[in-house]
Amino acid sequence: MKNPLSRRSVIGRISAVVAGVLAAPAAKAAKAVTQKLLVSADAPKDYDPTKHKWLMAIDANRCIGCGLCAEACKKENRVPEGPYFRTWVERYIITKPKPGSGAARGETLVDCPNGGINGYPEAPVLKEEIQHSFFVPKLCNLCQHSPCVQVCPVGATFDAPDGAVLIDPKYCIGCGFCIQACPYGCRFLSPVTKTAEKCTLCYHRITRGLKPACVEVCPTQARIFGDLKNPKPDDPLERFYRDNLVVTLKPHLGTEPRLLYAGIDKEVR
């Protein structure tokens, strides 16, 4: 005990150093997450992400394919020109089966020129041959088990406590792994910032009490947006769940999307 360099003291010191080395990254990571959320996500300083749970739902029965949402999103979020979209609207045309083919339905034709912003060309089949035609707005599926967050090598993309899946543009290294991992094609590598970008639910707007741009401009209320932790009287989200049977996209992948759809066909993926 008198020896200042007893085995116990040496082991103690070494373990203290090891513990310190191991704990430092954890502490740094925790700090980084908090900072990232408040600094990089365009939220006002007094915004508390733990007191909200934002969610969007899509009622495809109401969508008329005007493309205003995709256009508003491009303008609001300064999304680059070209094949880069945070939200877009797909048109589905399911044709009637050929007579005598024995099939219940014909082909499925899908298109989405320029995200639907400029409208759609005339249907490539005659009107009489169409069995169903409908529009499906697409955006980040807000997965509960997001593959994009899982694969990011530096943790630049993260699940915010309020339900948004965000990217820290100052941290993203632009490797593109998250874009490969997203089954819904909702991410892109911005040619301007050279980082991954995606729908943030217009984080800069919703944290200030506004609706996302796409929801704001939708003329038919096909996009329903709300805060599950602070429901309004006769909340549109609650009404949506009450009135509709809902589905998610690509459920077999186990990503558990929080974005729910009503009124879409099995062909939508």
Binding site: P83, W88, V110, C112, E122, P153, A181, P183
Partner: protein, 419 residues
């Protein structure tokens, strides 16, 4: 109406058939030729290292002439391996974040650790312990800058006694044993990067890491055959046929296992015919016809299998010159075939939409970052590095300790010649 349609299709989706998500309609796939080269080069590293361990760990004495060459090959290629990855990043200046603040659920984040471990703890140390006594001898015998370099490489450890040599050898052996699982890890995780992407039916596959490891071993051994034969040719030396025959044997067996696993993968895909199978079938028949069926399967697998298999059966009846030609052409074909395999995995996985409703064309540019030129430069770089290393560490002018890695049962090591 038809005109309008064509205009819109041409303007918005320039090279798509069917439907693709709008974000997928970019001119170039997100991961281009740089990401093709990256698994190719790391695979060569892992394979060349396994080749060296055959001598060190498994006591295959016939392979001694290529022991140091394969270690140096692994080292030269490992030094160049991260370059394509680095160049393709949107923000290369942030690359160290992968190691400083890694996100531990990401297979890509493990890259930093596996790479550092393999470079620092395995290859560099093994090479140093293997060369240490030679460095001591060379630093005394070589004048000028080169001598200074060797002195620097000794790091001040100039003990060239027999006991120290024994210790070097022991540590080298341990490092080799540790190195084998590390080499598997290095390349297995590259396979996992692709195998873990469940969004992509072409990639998301539990066999992917094993396919990558096996093809890595095949390509690495083929590279050692290639390097050994080319080096012997440059130095006007006769190839050690016994060594070459043994290399050919290992190459054949590795190729058999590799071909079996890749065939199993395709049989499973065809039989289970899960979601996305139709688009994959179309890819194999149309978009990847040349690189998959001709490059990977015919040139890279079947022809070498026949050539090497023949040599296993009737080796004694084939004259040496013919044998050498057969080994060399098999090695070349395998190297091309494995490159084609990496192309098929990386580019093939991005030539169809994740909506599984469309496929995309891809014409590689010539001069850009993801172009032919850059690819060729990055592929030549490890060979240039290796040439420098061979000049420095495998020079004919330098006396060597007559490297015998398994000293216990072999003849006693020669002491380095002193001036």
């Amino acid at each position: 109406m038809t005109n309008d349609m064509i205009n819109i299709v041409v303007e918005v989706m320039p090279h798509f058939e069917g439907y693709a998500y709008p974000n997928e309609a970019t001119q170039q796939p997100l991961w281009g030729v740089l990401i093709v080269l990256y698994p190719y080069i790391t695979g060569l590293v892992a394979g060349a290292f396994i080749m060296a361990s055959l001598v060190r760990v498994f006591n295959v004495k016939a392979l001694e002439p290529v022991y140091r060459l394969s270690l140096l090959t692994a080292f030269a290629f490992l030094l160049c391996a991260p370059l394509p990855l680095l160049f393709h990043l949107g923000h290369p200046e942030r690359c160290f974040e992968v190691m400083m603040t890694p996100h531990l659920t990401s297979p890509m984040a493990i890259f930093g650790f596996v790479y550092a471990w393999y470079l620092m703890a395995v290859l560099l140390l093994e090479l140093w312990f293997d060369y240490r006594r030679d460095f001591v001898a060379w630093s005394e015998s070589t004048p000028g800058f080169q001598g200074m370099l060797y002195r620097l490489f000794t790091v001040g450890v100039t003990d060239d006694s027999e006991a120290a040599g024994q210790l070097d050898h022991k540590i080298g052996h341990i490092l080799s044993v540790v190195g084998i699982p590390s080499a598997f890890l290095l390349h297995g995780y590259v396979g996992f990067i692709f195998g873990s992407v469940k969004a992509n039916p072409w990639w998301g596959n539990v066999l992917m890491p094993i396919i990558f490891i096996m093809s890595a071993m095949v390509s690495g051994i083929a590279l050692c055959v290639f390097n050994y034969m080319v080096l012997s040719w440059i130095r006007r030396k006769t190839v050690d046929m016994k060594c070459l025959d043994v290399m050919g044997m290992y190459l054949f067996y590795a190729l058999v296992v590799d071909a079996a696993i890749e065939a199993l993968d395709w049989i499973h895909r065809i039989y289970s015919a899960e979601e996305g199978f139709q688009v994959m079938q179309y890819m194999a028949q149309e978009k990847l016809f040349y690189t998959l069926n001709l490059g990977q399967v015919a040139c890279g697998t079947l022809v070498p299998l026949v050539l090497l298999g023949l040599l296993q059966l009737i080796r004694r009846r084939v004259p040496e010159l013919q044998r050498r030609r057969m080994y060399f052409s098999s090695a070349m074909l395998i190297l091309i075939g494995v490159l084609a395999m990496r192309w098929n995995v990386v580019i093939g996985g991005q030539l169809f939409s994740k909506s599984l409703r469309g496929v995309m064309g891809y014409k590689m540019e010539f001069a850009g970052l993801e172009g032919w030129l850059m690819g060729a430069v990055l592929l030549c770089l490890p060979f240039i590095t290796l040439t420098v290393m061979v000049k420095l560490f495998l020079s004919e002018r330098l006396p060597t300790s007559g490297h015998i890695p398994h000293r216990e049962d072999g003849p006693p090591a020669l002491s380095p010649a002193k001036p």
